[in-house]
Every structure is written in structure tokens, then in C-alpha cells.
Symmetry: C2
Subunit: 216 residues, 2 copies
């Protein structure tokens, strides 16, 4: 499936880096943990990082029912939700052509709130499972009070674009001196050793879903 | 130095996670590569990732003079610039108390363009050196044409706040079962092995500024 670019989702700068197909967009969304949500509050733009999860054709995010951001967005404010991964520092032979390799997705639209409590609880479980598969069955479930105190918003993946830069630097032909080192330095998120809290007994086994956890 | 919170920079949700001192804010900014810049275009919010560098009391970012975003921001649009680092997945004993450890900074304000070409070239060198210290002296300098084709914007670090979550999960006392594994899984950006491009000769040494490169 390919989104048709709109005036705001069309990539105009370096359009060769743009993509509108759902496989590309979904892969970038699925590789991330935190998105940046932009909206307008009191006339000025606000950009807030928040945890998210993709579920089919939707991005889910959540927070306290007391959150000004979530209350505002649930009332139908336009938003822009952006996910970015930095993959490498790109070192060219000219200062000008230095760059980054990255993958990003920008979504536009209006989010709606999940009002039904059972659906909301299911969406919250989905977000937790998306972050740590296998976790929900291991922990104490949400109580009704906790579900009631949480807003879950749903943004359709409809007006969406991806932008990707990959590969080596692109130098001017006259700069291509083999004696000058140019290339990329890859960067990526890595996973450390899980650290139990002070309550966890030394005899409590590290569950598989913790020991085997990986990003994306 | 401490910023005085304004109505938009004050942390209202979980205010105990908020900080307004410049040492905290600067450390978070200095640890990052990409920020998310939010602004309003044609009435809707737009959030775009971009490379940045802190220089004293300012954040610098740049792009093509043809960029709609940079042209709009240079004309005095309000913006919000956000930097986020995810440090750990926080696994609690209840689904509800799952969280992330993170550090984020949110800046509000209006950016100004560096019009003077010498100042602009110096700022571009600063951005490159901030990304890869030692690189500017190794590569072909910017030409006048390249400097003229690039906009550099400066956002003062004035209306700023940081928000930080760190440490173990915070469970409800009645959930604190030592037989349930709770704790954190640390995540962090790691650096891979530099990869020379196809032009670089096999006999060209990897410069120290590449071999020793680290984040932040």
C-alpha cells in the first residue's frame, strides 16, 4: 500500500530520499520506542517525546488523563508525529558534504481517544507487549482505576511519509582524493545487561522476555 | 544559571522530573546529534528531525537555503526544539508502572539567521567540529558558494526545560513481590567500526578523529 503524498506530507527537499510505501513506513515505526509529537498550544508549537506502538494501520500512544497534551489532542487538535533513527555519521572530503544516515517517518492527522474501557485496556496491554513482548502475562494486570486514569490516543497511518539517507558520502568529483579518509561511522542503539531492582530476590530467575529483549 | 519557567516551559506533569538549570540542560543537549524542530506551517504543526550543535547559550542548526522549513523559521516563526535520549526500559511488577528512563530538553523561542558570511562559515565549521572534532582541519573547506547556499539558524537557550526519569521502577507497595523480576534494561547509542568509502585507498590511514570518535 502506498500513501498518496499530500501538500504537507510530500518530501520536497531531496525528494529522492522520500518514500510513501507502507512497508518502509511500518519498518521505521516498528524499529522505534519514542516518537516526537508536535501540536499547537496557545498559538505556539510544542514538541513532546512519548512512547508509542504501531498496531496495524494506527499508532497508539498514551499518558495520564490529567496530561494537558493528551487532553488537547483528544479534543481533535491537528498533530504531527515523527520517528527518527540515526544510523551513521557520514564523513565526506568536503566540510559541506558531511551528513547523517537516518530513517524518519512523519505522520500528520488527528488522533482519537479510545473511550471504551475494555478496548482501552487492550490497547494498553498492546503497548506494553509491543515494548516488551511477553511482559503482560508476567505482571499484575491493569486495574479499572488505572485504565480509567489513562488516556490512549490512536493516530491513523494515513498521511505519512518516510525519508531515508543511507550509504557512503557523496563527494564532488574534484574532491575524490583516495588519500583522504571518507566514509561512515555507524551508530545504533544497543542493549545493556538487565538490572533488577532492590526488591527482586537474588533467587528470582531473569525471565526469558527480559534476558532476550531486543529493540524494535 | 537557572531559567525561570514560563507558562509553556514549566513542567506540569510529574514536576519532580523537571529541571531548569543550565548545567542539566546543556549536558542533555551536548549528548545528542539530532533534535526535533516543531513549527506551524499552513496552520498545522510540523516536526522535522535535524542535526544541531550547542554553542554557549545557543543551539545552531542548518540546512539548504532552499528549505521551506529554514526559510519559514528564519522569517521569525515560533519554534519548539526538543532533544530526547532514551536510557532504559523500566519494567515494573504492574503493567501500569512500566516506563522509560529518559532525558529530554524542550526549548521554545524564535531563531535568527546568521547573515554575515564569515560568521556563517564559522558556525558551519563549529557544527561539523561539534559532530566530529578534528574533522574541519582534515577536509576541504567550505567554498563561498556553499556557504551562500546554506542557512544557519540560531536559537537562544532561554526558555528551556529538562525532564528526566532515572532509576528503578516505582511499584505500589502491595505489588512488591521479590519473586517477580522488576528492574531496568539499559539502552544506549553505540558506535560501530568506521567504514571507508570506495574511493579511500587501502593505504590511507584511518585518522585519529575517526578511530577515536565517540558520541556527545
Amino acid at each position: 500500500m502506498v500513501s498518496t503524498p499530500t501538500s504537507r506530507s510530500e518530501i520536497r527537499r531531496l525528494p529522492e530520499r522520500g518514500a510513501y510505501d507502507r512497508a518502509t513506513i511500518d519498518a521505521i515505526l516498528d524499529a522505534g520506542i519514542v516518537c516526537h509529537v508536535g501540536f499547537v498550544a496557545d498559538g505556539t508549537p510544542v514538541v513532546i517525546p512519548t512512547l508509542y506502538a504501531r498496531r496495524d494501520d494506527q499508532v497508539l500512544f498514551h499518558g495520564s488523563a490529567a496530561s494537558r497534551m493528551l487532553r488537547g489532542l483528544a479534543s481533535g487538535l491537528e498533530l504531527c508525529l515523527t520517528v527518527t533513527h540515526v544510523d551513521a555519521i557520514v564523513l565526506a572530503r568536503s566540510a559541506f558534504h558531511h551528513s547523517l544516515n537516518y530513517r524518519s517517518v512523519v505522520l500528520f492527522g488527528v488522533a482519537t481517544e479510545i473511550v471504551d474501557l475494555d478496548e482501552r485496556a487492550a490497547a494498553l496491554d498492546y503497548i506494553t507487549e509491543s515494548l516488551v513482548p511477553g511482559r503482560v502475562g508476567y505482571v499484575r494486570p491493569m486495574t479499572d482505576k488505572e485504565v480509567r486514569g489513562t488516556k490512549v490516543l490512536v493516530l491513523p497511518i494515513a498521511e505519512a511519509s518516510a525519508k531515508i539517507r543511507s550509504g557512503p558520502p557523496k563527494d564532488e568529483p574534484e574532491d575524490e582524493d583516495p588519500e583522504v579518509w571518507a566514509g561512515i561511522i555507524p551508530v545504533s542503539y544497543g542493549v545493556g545487561v538487565p538490572e533488577p531492582d532492590a526488591v527482586t530476590s537474588a533467587s528470582t530467575p531473569v525471565p526469558r522476555h527480559v534476558a532476550d529483549w531486543s529493540l524494535g
